[in-house]
């Protein structure tokens, strides 16, 4: 397989999880431990394949369902937490999950699952990406998407206007986690292994960067951010070790000067070209 197609397929797989994270952040649930939910997909699908002989196309949907259940359960347990209380809880979860996954013999312990059956068909990966984006796009356009946006801006005010915030929090976090699990399952079947470290903070951080840099106010922002941050280091010759410094700097730049991310900048530019004389 060519160099670029490998990069682009990796970006596809990550963008599914980034889109899931977008849905969560949109509703005000600042999840800084997304890799845990990605990992649920990878581990469930991998374990079903290696321990029970499920073919990938049967185990991936089950992994997605497991991701939804785990996400909804976590959201139900943390209903009372807002903003950064929630963020810190997800941080602690990611720390705990790496430790716990390394101790479960059924999941291969510290070495993780190996010899997971392969599913590297690009058609499946691209189709999954399109399906994930379609789910997010439809949800974002629906009345539920409007309620989600309202809740993300101000949960109490949204409640006053009749948004069932508890239900919405559980369902959107579950949906986001289901997308994350899909991404994890695809990753596991692409590389044949899944390890406790895949649940770690660094991976969660990367997903967070994709969403923030891409833009957390537009549904196609995470997709754009993921592809941009996957392809940029390949086109501009930077030391691979310095890549994360650049990512951190981008995150700071976006937070301070460009709160809507690259997607916001692109949309603003497009509006200005199509309808000159009017700012967005």
């Amino acid at each position: 397989m060519g160099f670029w197609s490998t990069i682009l397929l990796s970006a596809c797989v990550s963008s599914i999880a980034a889109t899931g994270l977008f849905l969560q952040i949109r509703g005000g649930q600042l999840n800084v431990g997304m890799a845990v939910f990605v990992g649920i997909g990878g581990y469930v699908s991998g374990a079903l394949g290696t321990r029970a002989g499920f073919p990938p196309l049967a185990s991936i949907p089950l992994a997605v369902a497991a991701g939804f259940v785990a996400g909804a359960l976590f959201a139900a347990l943390t209903l009372r937490l807002h903003h950064w209380f929630f963020a810190v809880t997800t941080l602690a979860l990611s720390l705990a999950a790496v430790a716990a996954a390394g101790q479960i013999g059924f999941l291969g312990g510290n070495l993780g699952l190996t010899q997971i059956s392969f599913l590297t068909d690009p058609v499946v990966i691209v189709a999954a990406t399109i399906a994930a984006c379609a789910v997010a796009w439809l949800l974002d356009r629906s009345p539920a998407g409007l309620a989600l946006r309202a809740m993300g801006n101000d949960q109490v005010l949204a409640e006053v206007f009749g948004v069932r915030t508890k239900f919405l929090r559980v369902v959107t976090f579950g949906t986001g986690s289901a997308l994350a699990a899909l991404s994890g399952a695809l990753h596991a079947h692409r590389f044949g292994t899944y390890q406790p470290n895949d649940l770690g903070f660094q991976n969660s951080l990367l997903l967070f960067v994709y969403v923030i840099v891409g833009g957390k106010t537009r549904v196609w922002g995470p997709l754009l951010g993921t592809f941009f941050l996957y392809t940029m280091p390949e086109m501009i010759p930077i030391d691979p070790r310095a890549e994360l410094i650049v990512f951190g700097a981008l995150m700071m730049l976006v937070a301070v000067w460009l709160p809507a991310g690259i997607a916001g900048a692109v949309a603003g530019l497009a509006t200005r070209i199509i309808r000159p004389g009017r700012s967005r």
């Binding site: 009372r80 602690a92 720390l95 951190g248």
Partner: protein, 290 residues
């Protein structure tokens, strides 16, 4: 065995308390979460390593590290946190949170590029044990706990008994009202930020002193545990942060005793979930907290 683990837990909590108090002070006075806070400790620790390897005496290296770390901290405050004060509402918390995560990534990965992504031997080490009543007490951790206790007592006196402390509390309570009363709130915020950075720097060096090793990514677990200790104790409360750190240390020790040392981080998560389920505002919460 259980008593030994409990001793270890209490000893380890000194360093957690230093980080947790820093987080809680920044949140109390600025209303933001500085995710790069624990990384200041890493910066100070690797600066000491660099200073000693460049031929400085340990004490000179520590002084150099303090200067470097304060410079880095004030730069982070200027670039990542200060713009957040323009916003109000949720954006005022979210923007500095995201920007400081970015700042933390820059600090960690710059250190990883300069020093290599590996554990570095810390030049000042205390690896021996005291034998007290049949129990082993790690010397480094005992010294750390003592230093932390002294620093936190000084801090409590500073906040509760001095004029500057009164200004700090006034700014934490209501920044506009404090300004009207003639308090230079920007100066108070900067000084508080420098104090918390100093605490983080000392804590980072104490990690090196106690465990003998420092690493570019060492701040991540301390950052998480400091934040958890702050929430468990009650945001904005100094005694709360200390209590939270103690609870985290003991919970870790109990998990190690009951489930094995690999699962110590699971204990931290369980304590957080338990406290948030029973008392979402934390164990001690003051009006000054956000």
């Amino acid at each position: 065995m259980l008593t030994q683990q409990l001793i270890n837990g209490v000893l380890a909590s000194g360093i957690y308390a230093l980080f947790a108090v820093g987080f809680t002070m920044i949140f109390g006075i600025m209303g933001v979460l500085n995710m790069a806070h624990a990384d200041f400790g890493m910066v100070a620790a690797v600066a000491v390593v660099w200073g000693v390897s460049a031929g400085l005496a340990p004490i000179e290296a520590v002084l150099l590290a303090v200067v470097v770390m304060l410079g880095v901290a004030l730069l982070v405050e200027r670039i990542a946190l200060r713009p957040g004060r323009r916003y109000s509402g949720d954006a005022a918390i979210e923007m500095p949170l995201i920007a400081s995560i970015g700042a933390g990534m820059i600090l960690q990965n710059t250190a990883a590029v300069v020093f290599g992504n590996k554990a570095i031997l810390f030049p000042i080490r205390l690896r021996g044990f005291f034998h007290i009543g049949g129990y082993l007490v790690a010397q480094g951790l005992a010294v750390s706990l003592a230093i932390a206790a002294v620093l936190l007592t000084v801090l409590e006196v500073l906040v509760m008994r001095t004029g500057f402390g009164r200004e700090m509390r006034a700014v934490a309570q209501n920044r506009n009202a404090a300004e009207i009363m003639g308090i230079h709130s920007e100066r108070v915020i900067l000084l508080t930020f420098a104090i918390t950075a100093l605490l983080a720097g000392i804590a980072g060096c104490l990690v090196g002193l106690s465990y003998g090793l420092v690493a570019p990514y060492m701040a991540i677990p301390y950052s998480i545990k400091g934040l958890v200790a702050m929430i468990v104790g009650g945001v904005g409360s100094l005694p709360g942060a200390v209590l939270g750190a103690l609870l985290i240390g003991v919970a870790e020790a109990l998990t190690v005793d009951l489930l094995g040392s690999q699962l110590r981080d699971v204990g931290v998560f369980l304590v957080l979930m338990l406290v948030l389920a029973v008392r979402p505002t934390g164990l001690l919460r003051t009006a000054a907290g956000g």
